[in-house]
């Protein structure tokens, strides 16, 4: 499906600059994310990947130069899993505070099953491991119909099968016209082409 370039960008960052503790992490960094693109932000630890993600999604509102235009509400997966220990995975997903739509039970079952959590839908989450919590958080990707996904190292503590399942989902989301901006230390095996944004030189390739 040809990517319609004339659409407005789903996310536009104009000349972003951030100084952290006297060190300049990046400056004059501009990027425009259109539907059908997958962006990977690369950089060593401490290069400011997470700070950039927080600026792009709107959590950081002060302390940086430049502007971010966000016409659509992104789906943001951060380092923390946002899974309440007292609620079951199903309740966590159906009553999620990110304001997403109402998911039916079988949608939730299907999403959790694809991440290897079949049978754990209704147990209290405090009985699940940290890795399983991350997978419950990742299940939001399978349920959400948001166009723009901002993922901050989604694959940490996820096993091989989960990573492959998610990578194929990312590819189909991008082919379907959605956009993904993510940071990850692992190389991505995705069928669509990957635009990379390397923070060390602040260069867009």
């Amino acid at each position: 499906m040809p990517i319609s370039v004339n659409d407005a960008p789903l996310l536009a960052a104009q000349s972003l600059g951030l100084v952290r503790g006297g060190r300049e992490l990046f400056h004059d960094l501009s990027v425009e994310v259109y539907g059908g693109q997958l962006w990977q932000i690369e950089g060593a630890n401490g290069a400011g990947k997470t700070s950039l993600m927080r600026i792009l999604c709107g959590l950081s509102r002060y302390g940086f130069e430049g502007k971010v235009l966000r016409p659509v509400t992104p789906l943001y997966l951060g380092h923390q899993t946002a899974v309440k220990a007292l609620l079951s995975p199903r309740e966590n997903l159906q009553w999620h505070v990110s304001g997403a739509g109402l998911y039916s039970d079988d949608q939730v079952d299907d999403a959790l099953a694809r991440l290897g959590l079949r049978g754990y839908e209704d147990v209290p989450s405090h009985t699940l491991s940290a890795g399983q919590h991350r997978r419950v958080n990742l299940a939001r990707l399978f349920l959400s119909d948001a166009c723009l996904w901002l993922l901050d190292e989604p694959f940490t503590a996820i096993d091989k099968q989960g990573v492959d399942e998610t990578q194929s989902l990312l590819a189909s989301h991008v082919d379907g016209g959605g956009a993904v901006v993510m940071t990850s230390h692992q190389a991505l095996q995705v069928s669509c082409n990957v635009n990379t944004l390397n923070l060390v030189q602040g260069v867009v390739s």
């Binding site: 999620h96 119909d145 948001a146 166009c147």
Partner: protein, 242 residues
């Protein structure tokens, strides 16, 4: 069953975004369920209220006449302190596991989400406090005629206290040791509520009409409902950004 993927996103996204009222009801239900699933956290403020009430006769002496002259102030100050103790935890657990970030990024306005959080906090603390207070009022020898005024004044007052405590909670949620700080920030704002709350009970004790004082408490409540969520929303965005 391969879920049907949205073919093209350009025609607008998040098609099934629940409107604000639906979302706030869902947040309220979630918060109440979280509170009910750990009932001891509902019990704590009530136990604190009971224990501190018992301290006063030990300190002031058991004679009923002395106690009755202090009863309104004692009841109200204890309710105020127990409300203050619980207001620190309103956003703390959501901040720790990352739900607060998701709430701030939700398309629905944060003003009403914060209001839903505070309503849930009030239902699990203020309302129960008001319901339980007549028992302790009788222990302090408060005349039965003043129990009604006490209940209504606590009902309105604890709602205002929850809203103001929410502001303190939002500003200190990012700090590791925010507990003590919250009392320094918010107690000066609690004082007008304390003044008119005790005045209502004292008036009822002496047989005077407590209506005007309850009206002022109601006015404070409406002002707090209108303005406090603004400060709470801004405070949360600032604390998340720190």
């Amino acid at each position: 069953m391969q879920r049907q993927h949205p073919q093209s996103c350009s025609r607008g996204c998040l098609l099934s975004v629940p409107h604000t009222g639906q979302f706030c009801a869902r947040v309220l239900r979630r918060q109440l369920l979280l509170a009910v699933r750990r009932p001891i956290e509902i019990g704590n403020p009530l136990l604190f209220f009971a224990i501190v009430i018992v301290l006063f006769p030990l300190g002031l002496g058991p004679s009923p006449e002395r106690l009755v002259s202090f009863a309104p102030g004692v009841l109200w100050i204890t309710a105020l302190l127990s409300n203050l103790l619980t207001s620190d935890a309103v956003f703390r657990s959501d901040f720790d596991d990352g739900s607060l970030e998701q709430l701030i990024l939700a398309p629905q306005p944060l003003f009403f989400s914060a209001l839903a959080y505070i309503l849930a906090h009030w239902l699990t603390t203020g309302l129960l406090l008001a319901a339980v207070s007549p028992v302790f009022a009788l222990m302090l020898n408060l005349p039965v005629s003043a129990l009604g005024a006490l209940f209504v004044s606590l009902l309105l007052g604890t709602a205002v206290l929850s809203l103001l405590g929410g502001i303190g909670a939002a500003l200190t949620v990012g700090l590791k040791r925010g507990g003590i700080l919250i009392s320094l920030l918010i107690l000066p704002l609690y004082m007008p509520v304390l003044i008119f709350g005790t005045a209502a009970v004292q008036a009822a004790m002496t047989g005077a009409p407590s209506g005007p004082y309850l009206a002022i408490l109601g006015a404070m409540l409406s002002l707090a409902i209108a303005l406090a969520p603004l400060a709470i929303a801004t405070g949360l965005k600032v604390s998340i950004d720190a």
